[in-house]
Amino acid sequence: MRRARLILLCVCALVARTPLHAQWALTADAGVSHLRQAGIPESNAQILGATLDAAGARSALRTSILAARASSDRWTGQGVMLGSIVGPTAGAARWELDGAVSAFGETSELPTTSAEVAARARIGSSLRGGAIGAGLGTRARGSTNNPIYRAQGDAWWSIHDERVFLNVALTRTRPLVGLAPPSAQTVTPTLSYVDVGANWRHDAGGLSIGLVGGARGQGGASRTTSGWAVLDAAAWVQPRFAVAVGAGRTLEDVVRGVPHATFVSVALRISAQPHATIIARHAARAGPHIRAERVRDDLRRIDVQADSASRVEITGDFTNWSPVPLTRTGNVWRLERTIPPGPHRIAIRLDDGPWIVPVNLPRVDDDLGGTVGIITIP
C-alpha cells in the first residue's frame, strides 16, 4: 500500500506541475443499464457517472467515476484517474510519462485499488503517430498487494472527423486471492495476458460514435482467448444535452478488479461545454454565401451561393481587384483558378450592383476607406 501511495504521489506531482490551459470538458451521465455481470444476477441498474477531461499544452488528465445500483440493491462504484505528460520534441521522438490510479468496489466485497506509472517513447504527430513503452504498478485488495508489469504499444491516425487507435498490451501480475494473504507455503501463480485492441471514433455534426474491440490471449496453464466489443453513440439534441447509448461485452479488467460484463445502456448526458447539435437551429441569413476549397495542387474552387442573381462577379487581391465573372454550375456560381493558400480579401457583385461582402465572411478595412471580406483559401 505504501508503494501505491508513492505512485499516486508521483502521478499527481507530474500532472500538477504542468499548468493547465482553459481546455477542459466535463460531462455527467444518468441512465439505466441492463447488465449481466460476473457475481451478480442479470438485472437492470441505475447508473450515474461523470468524466472530467483537462488538457494543457503538454499534459492531459482524465478523471471518470461511475456508480451503478442494481435492482437487488447491490451497488458498484469505480473511479479512474489517468494522466500523461509529454516532453518536448527531440528529433523524431518525444518522451511521455503516464500514470493511472483506480478504485473499484461493490457491496459486500473488499474494494480493489491500483496505481501504475509508465514511460513511453512517441513518434509522429497528433494526427498520425505511435508509441511504445513499459510500466509497473501495484494493485491491492484487503491486505493483498500484487505487482503489475506492463509493456504497451500504440498507434493512432486521424482523417477528417475519424480517428483510429490501435493498442497492444502485455500485462503480468498475480491474481488477488481474497481476504487472507498467501502464506509462505503458498505460491500464487503469475497471470500473464496480451490484449490487442482497436478503437474508432467519429465526432461531427452533433453525433459522436465509437467502437472499441479486441481480443485477449491468456497464457499459463489455462490458455484462453476471449474477445470484447463495445459500441457507444451520443446524439447532441441540445448544445448541452445528449442522448447516449451503449452496448457491448467487456472482459475482466484484471488490474482494476472490475469483473467482465455484458450490457445495454441508455443515459442522458449533460455537458458543461456546448456542442454542435444534430438539428440545425437557425435559418441562414438572406444574402450571398461564399466558400473556398482545394481541388488539387494549386487549383482552388470558389463557390458563391446567390440564388436570385443572373450574373455574379468577384474581385480580390488575387485578381488584382479586376472583376472576374463566375460561371453558373448547378445552384452555385463558380470560379476555379490558381490562388495561393492563406488569407485573401474579396468582394462580390450581383447583377452589376454595388460591391458587397458575402454574408458569411467577416469584414475588414481595406486601407482605402472601404470594407471588404476576408476569406481563407485552403
Binding site: R58, S84, D232, T315, S322, G342, P343, T376
Partner: protein, 221 residues
C-alpha cells in the same frame, strides 16, 4: 475605369519603373504620385520583399478611384506590414508566408507577437493558412489573444489546413445564423479537438477495457 487603363495598369506589374510610372499616369494617377508609388514598389523589391501585395493595393486604389494621397498611404502601409511580417516570421519565411502575414497584420487587432507565436509553433512548415484563420477569427471580433491561443493550440494538435479552414467557415456560418461568436467557437473547437489528440498522451484512456459502462465511452482515444 476604361479597358485601356486597366491594360496599362497590368503593364505596371512587371514593367520597368519609368514605364510603370507612365502607365499609372495614363490610368489617372498624377506623375508625382506615380513616382512615389514606383519608389515604394522598388524599395520593397530591393529589400527582397514580395511586391504583389503592394501592386494589388495600388490596383485596388486605382480601380476604386481613390485619391492619389490615399493610394500612396495604402501602398506604404502594405510595404510596412510586409517588412513587419518578414521580421515576425523569421528566419527565412517564404514569400507566401510573408504575404499572408501582411494580410493578417492588416486586420485590426492582429499583432506581430501573434505572428511570432504562430511561427514558433510551426517553425518548419508554411503558416499561410493558420495566419488566415487567425485573421478571420480576429476580424470576427474574437479577442486577439484568444484567437492566437486557438490557432497555436490547433497547430500543436496537428490540425490540417483543411480542418483549420473548415473551422473558420463553420464559425462564420454560425455567426451569420445568429449564434453567439464565443459559443460557436466553443462548439466548433470541441468538435475539432475531439478528433485531434491532445499534445500529451491521452492514449492511456484506451488501455484496458473498463468493466461497467454507462454508454459514455471515451471521448477521444
Amino acid at each position: 475605369m476604361t479597358r485601356r487603363s486597366l491594360w496599362l495598369l497590368c503593364v505596371f506589374v512587371g514593367a520597368h519603373a519609368a514605364g510603370a510610372q507612365d502607365s499609372l499616369v495614363l490610368a489617372g494617377v498624377g506623375r508625382e504620385t506615380a513616382v512615389r508609388l514606383a519608389e515604394i514598389v522598388d524599395a520593397a523589391r530591393s529589400s527582397g520583399l514580395p511586391t504583389d501585395p503592394i501592386i494589388s493595393k495600388i490596383s485596388q486604389g486605382v480601380l476604386r478611384h481613390a485619391s492619389p494621397e490615399r493610394i500612396v498611404v495604402a501602398a506604404q502601409s502594405v510595404a510596412t506590414r510586409l517588412e513587419e511580417a518578414r521580421a515576425a516570421l523569421a528566419p527565412a519565411p517564404t514569400p507566401a508566408d510573408i504575404t499572408a502575414g501582411e494580410n493578417a497584420l492588416g486586420v485590426s487587432g492582429v499583432t506581430r507577437a501573434a505572428l511570432q507565436a504562430v511561427r514558433s509553433t510551426s517553425p518548419n512548415r508554411p503558416v499561410a493558412v493558420p495566419l488566415g484563420l487567425l485573421a478571420q477569427l480576429v476580424a470576427s471580433n474574437v479577442p486577439a489573444k484568444r484567437a492566437t491561443e486557438i490557432v497555436t493550440d490547433l497547430i500543436r494538435r496537428g490540425a490540417s489546413n483543411a480542418q483549420l479552414v473548415a473551422l473558420g467557415n463553420e464559425v462564420n456560418s454560425d455567426v451569420e445564423r445568429g449564434v453567439r461568436l464565443i459559443a460557436s467557437l466553443d462548439v466548433r473547437l470541441q468538435g475539432l479537438t475531439a478528433v485531434l489528440a491532445p499534445p500529451a498522451g491521452g492514449s492511456a484512456a484506451a488501455s484496458a477495457p473498463v468493466g461497467l459502462q454507462s454508454g459514455s465511452g471515451p471521448k477521444k482515444p
